[in-house]
């Protein structure tokens, strides 16, 4: 984005609609960081479209002073795909949730990811259905008691990151709703990535699923339960960086750096371009609440791949077909084989 105009501020991206989210909802942080990122990316309001499906998170378009379209449940990614294919010039952001993207819209999710259209997907994962008042979602933990699972959820949850990598994702990241700084940086990276960017946000729903991510956000626990991925840096976590991850063949193990005497240089060094390692990282999916021995939950950018986008490939085919000029209406109407009657 070259600076040919005065960049707008986050306030310029604020619409005249008051957000109708519950007090304390994690969605507010996402909205703020999205506007901050758009301002810092020096985007123009007219070149941005925010597309959404249905759910609390899908109210997002109404609160951003750009173009916005609020579609139907599960179909945001399909709508965004058509828009991007028709209008590659636009910066398209999808706001969606765990129900919208991974349940009713699961099919569109995997196919959008594999097609790699250049759109940025902000996936608000609160492990619950909020707008419909508290039913379990496809990311809810087994055993969660909700209005539709009074005796506990028996569905095994989706691992978003693993699913996305499996579908051929080219930009795969996760961030905690409270971590505004990282969120903004990831949004900016997502925008600059040419392809479908998936940013999963662990978003707390204070009403229906409060504390779902407490194991990763509580001050006293998060040092031991979370792992921050930084390109080129060893996988270190724990208070004062006392622990690290070592890759033993394909098996990741937690090393106590103080007790073992292993140097940080011998730890797993994060490489966001390594698909195999990203796949292993995606499987760091233990629930610290249900097991003593767990791998920490990674946050940050798991994987980035530079691959052709759908719209680039489609446009290239059209350009090639039009090498000797665009077809005229006369040619279209006549087709390849005609005869004349006098």
């Amino acid at each position: 984005m070259t600076d040919t105009h005065t960049c707008l501020t986050a306030k310029d991206f604020t619409s005249n609609q008051e957000p109708k989210w519950c007090p304390g909802c994690g969605d507010f942080m996402v909205l703020q960081q999205l506007k901050n990122a758009m301002a810092e990316l020096c985007l123009k309001t007219e070149e941005v479209v925010v597309v959404s499906g249905i759910g609390c998170s899908s109210r997002l378009p109404y609160y951003i002073n750009t173009y916005g379209v609020h579609g139907i449940h599960g179909r945001a990614m399909a709508m965004a795909s058509g828009l991007k294919a028709a209008r590659p010039d636009l910066s398209i952001w999808v706001g969606t949730g765990d129900g919208d993207a991974l349940s009713i819209g699961g099919n569109h999710y995997i196919h959008t990811v594999r097609r790699n259209l250049d759109i940025n997907v902000v996936l608000f994962n609160n492990e619950i259905y909020g707008l419909t008042k508290g039913q379990y979602s496809p990311t809810s933990k087994v055993g969660l008691r909700t209005v539709t699972s009074p005796t506990g959820v028996v569905d095994y949850p989706i691992n978003t990151i693993a699913l996305t990598l499996g579908a051929g994702g080219t930009f795969v990241a996760r961030v905690m709703d409270r971590d505004g700084k990282l969120m903004k940086e990831i949004f900016k990276r997502a925008h600059n990535h040419k392809g479908t960017s998936i940013v999963e946000i662990y978003q707390n729903c204070p009403i229906f699923n409060d504390g779902a991510f407490g194991a990763f956000s509580d001050k006293e626990r998060k040092d031991d339960t979370t792992l921050h991925l930084e390109q080129g840096q060893p996988l270190v976590f724990g208070a004062n960086g006392s622990k690290g991850i070592h890759l033993d063949g394909f098996k990741p193990t937690v090393i106590d750096l103080e007790k073992s005497g292993v140097s940080k240089d011998d730890l797993w060094i994060h490489d966001e371009n390594d698909l195999i390692k990203a796949n292993i990282l995606s499987r760091f999916f233990d629930d610290p609440n249900s097991t003593e021995e767990f791998l920490p939950r990674p946050f940050g950018i798991f994987y980035v791949e530079d691959r052709f986008t759908y719209e680039q490939a489609l446009d290239a085919q059209i350009d090639k077909a039009q090498e000797k000029g665009e077809g005229t209406l006369e040619e279209l109407l006549a087709g390849n084989s005609t005869w004349t009657i006098n």
Binding site: S15, Q17, K44, T45, E46, E47, V48, V49, V50, V51, S52, I54, P61, Y62, I64, N65, T66, Y67, G68, V69, H70, G71, I72, R75, A78, M79, A80, S81, G82, L83, K84, A85, A86, R87, D89, L90, N107, H108, I110, H111, L314, Q317, I318, K320, A321, Q322, E326, G327, L329, E330, L332, L333, A334, G335, S337, T338, W339, T340, I341, N342
Partner: protein, 627 residues
């Protein structure tokens, strides 16, 4: 059909006004190709023409069995060709199964050209006749004129000196049969020869062999007594309007109609689609039009097919999606979104037998009420139905015009019969096509009043403010919106108002659609036959014939079903009775009864087959007797 016998150079030439031909053989015999060659020849010759392929429903049915018979049906003639023909005058039967599968549809006294080598013991067994019951020999066919030709032997003889392998020579057998048929109908060989030359331009020996086979077949007709005693036929060309013609199937015509509309409107065409029988050729045809900038998107499902299109429409493209019944069912929620967003969108539904998977390869008109009402909420949209393969072009074009100019989704109905049938189309000049004017909002300056995405013009149409345009930033969605601003609104009065405004806009489309005209017959009288969609050919023929027989019957054919043409009520009032034949259980009848409070006579056929003219003639005659 007045047949005139003329003696010409010792040949007996019988002049006919129209002939219906069936090419039938095993699915590996190249019948579609052979029939297409014949169709191209008569088209270039100047005949009126209508064709219909009849494929086996399985991909690879067992060879030699009735299930494996592939047919290509066509009617050509000087006048009165509106359908591929209800019954055939001539049947080419390449094997016993082909005869068995189709004999019931051959006119009494009709001609059978049979490859006698396809009636060997093996083929007779596979066909179900049994090896001891050869219909060519046992008197089964005494009511018909039968020409038994050992096609493979004669083809091998003719091509013996080409040096080609027997396998390749045997593949030329259908060209030999085609040559015989050209002789029988006094048709020129040039079109086929030119096609073969260009098709095999890098394989000259194959081209030569095929050409030699066609000529050998033609000469066989000339030289064989079997034929000379019966004489040959001549079907004079039609008195067609002069101009350039092409042959189109309904699905090709639909695709070209959309692409032409986009060009005319200055928009990019985007088709989001999922393959489904019998609608896939629309996607396939458009996928090949990249030279015209057409973007096709083969989506992951029917829902994504329409949603990608809605996204493209929001972005300023002429967007369309195509499908058949089961897919339309999946698209209904998307259609509702397009209705409330008020974005232009064309949905082409190629109807097939239902419900559920139903009869995927067979036509039916049973999605009409779904097209009208198949959405939750009050969600009216214009509905247009094509009445012939060529009309698929104009119906798709008009659907696009209405969609773009009225900012609405439009349903365009065709069916499996129109989709696969072909006929000659007079190529229109771009200037002949109606203009299409999008209602784009211009850029807005900061000091101008706020942009109102749902402020309507005098026709009730909202503007198209597309992303990328400075100053028009706005948010819209599937939630009910406040009038003019488009902001989310749950206000009761506002919802009532918006519901009414959306309906009024669709109703106002009636202002630009032409009055319905009587296709044939009096403006006032005892009986009006009111049709819609693909029944056009059969009704037209039936009404022509009963009128020739002295019955005073009129025919009108509806293309615009929502809204109806303004004069429809008055027209219906001019007749004592209204007969509505349709390939469903009375869906147009319900709409007419509901709207005009009259009691038409329904005539249903839900067999996965189109009407034939005899059925309709009989119904007309019965009704007139009761009057």
């Amino acid at each position: 059909m007045s047949d005139t016998v003329i003696l010409n150079n010792n040949d007996m030439v019988i002049s006919k006004t129209s002939v219906s031909v069936l090419f039938a053989g095993d699915s590996g015999d190249g019948m579609q190709l052979t029939g297409t060659q014949f169709a191209n020849t008569v088209a270039v010759y100047g005949s009126d023409l209508n064709t219909f392929p009849n494929f086996p429903s399985e991909i690879r049915p067992p060879a030699g069995t009735v299930a494996g018979v592939s047919g290509f049906q066509l009617q050509f003639g000087t006048t009165g060709v509106y359908t591929p023909g209800a019954k055939f005058d001539v049947m080419i039967a390449m094997n016993a199964a082909a005869l068995k599968a189709n004999l019931k549809n051959l006119h009494h006294g009709g001609i059978i050209i049979a490859d006698s080598e396809g009636f060997d013991a093996k083929n007779l067994n596979l066909s179900g006749y049994g090896e001891t019951n050869n219909p060519l020999e046992d008197g089964t066919l005494t009511d018909y004129t039968v020409f038994k030709i050992p096609v493979i032997s004669l083809t091998r003889q003719a091509l013996a000196d080409t040096g080609l392998s027997t396998k390749i020579i045997d593949r030329c057998k259908n060209m030999f049969v085609l040559g015989v048929l050209y002789w029988l109908y006094s048709l020129p060989l040039e079109t086929t020869i030119e096609t073969l030359q260009s098709k095999f331009k890098n394989k000259q020996d194959i081209a030569d062999a095929n050409i030699k086979a066609v000529k050998a077949g033609y000469n066989f007709g000339d030289e064989t007594e079997m034929f000379s005693q019966h004489g040959r036929f001549r079907v004079p060309p039609a008195q067609k309007k002069g101009g350039v013609y092409r042959r189109v199937t309904g699905n090709e015509a639909s695709a070209i109609g959309l692409a032409a509309a986009a060009k005319k409107a200055g928009l990019e065409l985007f088709l989001g689609s999922y393959p489904i029988t019998p609608a896939s050729e629309i996607l396939q045809t458009l996928a090949g039009l990249k030279k015209w900038g057409v973007k096709t998107f083969q989506a992951e499902d029917e829902i994504a097919g329409i949603l990608t299109s809605i996204g493209a429409a929001y972005g300023g493209a002429l967007a369309a999606t195509n499908t058949s019944g089961p897919g339309l069912a999946l698209k209904t929620e998307g259609m509702g979104l397009a209705v409330i967003l008020e974005v232009p969108l064309v949905i082409i539904n190629v109807m097939r037998g239902g419900p559920s998977t139903g009869l995927p390869t067979k036509p039916e008109q049973s999605d009409l009420l779904m097209a009208m009402y198949g959405r939750h909420g009050e969600a009216p949209m214009p509905v247009i139905a094509a009445m012939s393969p060529v009309d698929c072009f104009y119906a798709a074009y008009e659907a696009a015009k209405i969609a773009v100019e009225y900012m609405t989704p439009v349903l365009c109905l065709t069916d499996g019969y129109l989709a696969l049938s072909s006929e000659p189309m007079l190529v229109p000049s771009p200037d002949d096509l109606a203009t299409i004017t999008p209602v784009f909002s211009p850029e807005r300056k900061a000091d101008e009043p706020a942009y109102l995405p749902y402020k309507r013009d005098e026709r009730g149409v909202r503007p198209w403010g597309i992303p990328g345009t400075p100053g028009l930033e706005h948010r819209i969605g599937g939630l009910e919106k406040q009038n003019e601003t488009g902001h989310v609104s749950h206000d009761p009065e506002n919802h009532a108002l918006m519901t009414r405004l959306r309906a009024e806009k669709v109703a106002k489309v009636a202002d630009i659609i032409p009055d319905l005209t009587i296709d044939n017959g009096p403006e006032k009288g005892d009986l009006l036959v009111l049709g819609w969609g693909s029944t056009y050919g059969a009704i037209k023929k039936a009404v022509e014939q009963v009128r020739e027989g002295g019955l005073d019957v009129a025919h009108a054919h509806l293309r615009y079903i929502n809204p109806f043409p303004k004069n429809l009520g008055a027209m219906l009032g001019n007749f004592k009775k209204v007969l509505i034949p349709e390939n469903n259980c009375g869906q147009l009848l319900s709409l007419i009864r509901d709207k005009f409070l009259i009691e038409p006579v329904g005539f249903s056929k839900v067999q996965g087959l189109p009407f034939n003219e005899m059925e309709i003639e009989e119904k007309i005659t019965d009704i007139l007797k009761e009057l």
